[in-house]
Symmetry: none
DNA sequence: GATGAATGAGTTTTCATTCAT
DNA sequence: GATGAATGAAAACTCATTCAT
């Protein structure tokens, strides 16, 4: 044996991790598209080209799978926004607009389905709601930071920070529902318009 | 017999109509709370204190019941907003704000559940979506009229009428999710804030 | 209408009751034969010539059905023994022997399966155990009464009342396992022997 | 190399044997506690801290594992009783009582679960029943020998040898169900009582 | 009009078993 | 020897729908 047992364990673990990610990605897509009740484990399994039973090897229930899927998707998304914010500089207005634009671009282009995951938590079993709320809070924080900065520097004028964040979040989450159609070029213009409209919320 | 057959028929019809309204109201509440798949006909029947079978006397399928429930609720709501608008006068800003304020008040106080009915149409069976879209359009029209007037009169400055309506609608529909808690007094203040924030979208 | 609504309700209730009894009898037979895990609801349904779904109309889970089945069977049995005891007279020995003989006759001829229902409660889901224990206690009481009488009158001499009852119960419950075979005539002789053997437990 | 290939094979065999014993002991415990259907191979594997797959290296099916487990347990038990009987002397009554006392002590203290293994063979798949019956017969033989001797010597008077053995066996197997509770001291007294009660079955 | 009963198709879940590594 | 992964068949349970009364 040229590899130690430890390495072997590590390799197996990594492989398992990759498989789980695969499942979660697929699940997130499907549940995002059609909601909790709209997707059966059969559906998930079929898209992965395995049998239902296999899913139970990794997750002990539909609820657990869904929770994990939401968590993964939400964290990935927030990570990207956080990295973007960390990399930004310039005046608050430019930075906030950048975040908004990035958020709706991800929403519309990559997770057209995610709306349902965060927007309507009432649909989910109780267990999931807590997690979703936590994710949502972390997600909010990215925008709150920039917004607060702008308000304190006098660049922004808002009715209230909380209410402004709520409006932004609502509008961004909804975006996929009405921006999905149209050619890519047109879509980009629509997204720009949306970002511009939301920036009015902080205009002096 | 002092009543003619015609009157008897009429009376029966009215009674039937009232029963149907009862069912629709209850159904709208439940479906609004928990979504299409989250509510079984058993649930609806139980809340009405009848049996599942009876529902089939009035509606030939779950879908039909749901469609009718959405329609009723949506029309009632829009009717109220239209009456309000017809009764309004004064400058566009005051009128638009009045409409927004009335809308969120209805949403939060009376149909806290309606969010799901209009906001996430993807959840509904295809048949319903068409109706929902139509309702949504009629609903939009109320706001669009005032918004267009204000823009044309130069009272409002917007990025785009469509995008502004979308943002407003999204924010108003979401409102019940974050305004539900708190004492009535505090809630009113939150709704005022929301209306103020949305008015920034049309500020010059 | 010649029958009042009350009568109609009563008739429906009775019909429902009869149906439930039918199901319970069948279920008790099957579960007695093959145990909790050995019988699927499909099995029960098939024997009743209905579909699984129908069972759920009357019982909300397999556990509930099983519990009810055990309860019914246990109560019927005890009722019969109690009636027998009430009708008996004569010296304690004759009465005790009569009870024992009746008990094993019922066990062997009518509920050859019941053994598992009372003898090995560990097999059953926790919820059922409580009920089974209660049934068992009521059942014991029939024998305890006569046994105590005999001891107090000096007709019986026992090592201890509790231990004697336990031995009797164990032996009677087991009987179907080794008395089932043989012609009816031979079987009767075996049951007589068993009753005689158990009477030695109380001999002076 | 100081050990020959043969010795190596032997060592491996012994190791294999020990592993098998380990599995069988664990399996016997679990199956005794919860019955055939109540225990999954996953349960057995987990308790042994191996994976399900590994069990298939030693046993080709669940049935085979269960059969072997029962066999082992039953043989051990009978061996101990046979050795005890071989070592006994004195009058038949003392010897029979000794056997009974030893049997219930083992049952209650060591295999509180074994009841299900022997008492309710109907639970087991057909294949196992034959083996269980054989074991049971061997087990019976120990008691039958002493009982017969006592009857022939005139020390015992019984209704019938078979029926007496059946009653004894039933009572002893049940013992764990009602002797399990209480402090060790009290438990011993209960077991003594049980032995005394059973001795009445052979009293002149 | 209304109800109780029944159905059947679909969904979640479990588990003995197989197998490549 | 042992493991992780996968399978497939069967089980419990749900629910929209139908229908005789």
């Amino acid at each position: 044996m040229t590899t130690s047992a430890g390495e072997a364990v590590g390799r197996v673990q990594r492989k398992r991790g990759r498989r789980i990610q695969q499942i979660l990605t697929t699940a997130a897509e499907l549940f995002g598209e059609r909601g909790y009740d709209g997707v059966s484990l059969e559906d998930v399994a079929e898209r992965l080209d395995v049998t239902k039973g296999s899913l139970y090897y990794y997750f002990s229930s539909k609820d657990e799978l869904v929770t994990a899927a939401i968590e993964t998707l939400g964290n990935d998304w927030t990570d990207r926004l956080e990295r973007l914010r960390a990399a930004q500089d310039g005046p608050p207005a430019a930075r906030l607009r950048g975040l908004i634009r990035a958020h709706v671009a991800i929403a519309v282009n990559e997770y057209p389905a995610a709306l349902r995951l965060f927007l309507v938590p009432g649909t989910w079993p109780q267990a999931q709601r807590t997690r979703i709320t936590a994710l949502r809070r972390r997600h909010d924080q990215v925008f709150r930071t920039v917004l607060t900065e702008g308000v304190e520097s006098g660049d922004f004028a808002v009715v209230g920070i909380d209410v402004t964040l709520q409006v932004m979040h609502a509008a961004m989450s909804q975006a996929p529902l009405w921006c999905a159609e149209g050619a890519p070029g047109e879509r980009d213009r629509t997204l720009d318009e949306l970002a511009d409209a939301l920036m009015k919320l902080v205009a002096r």
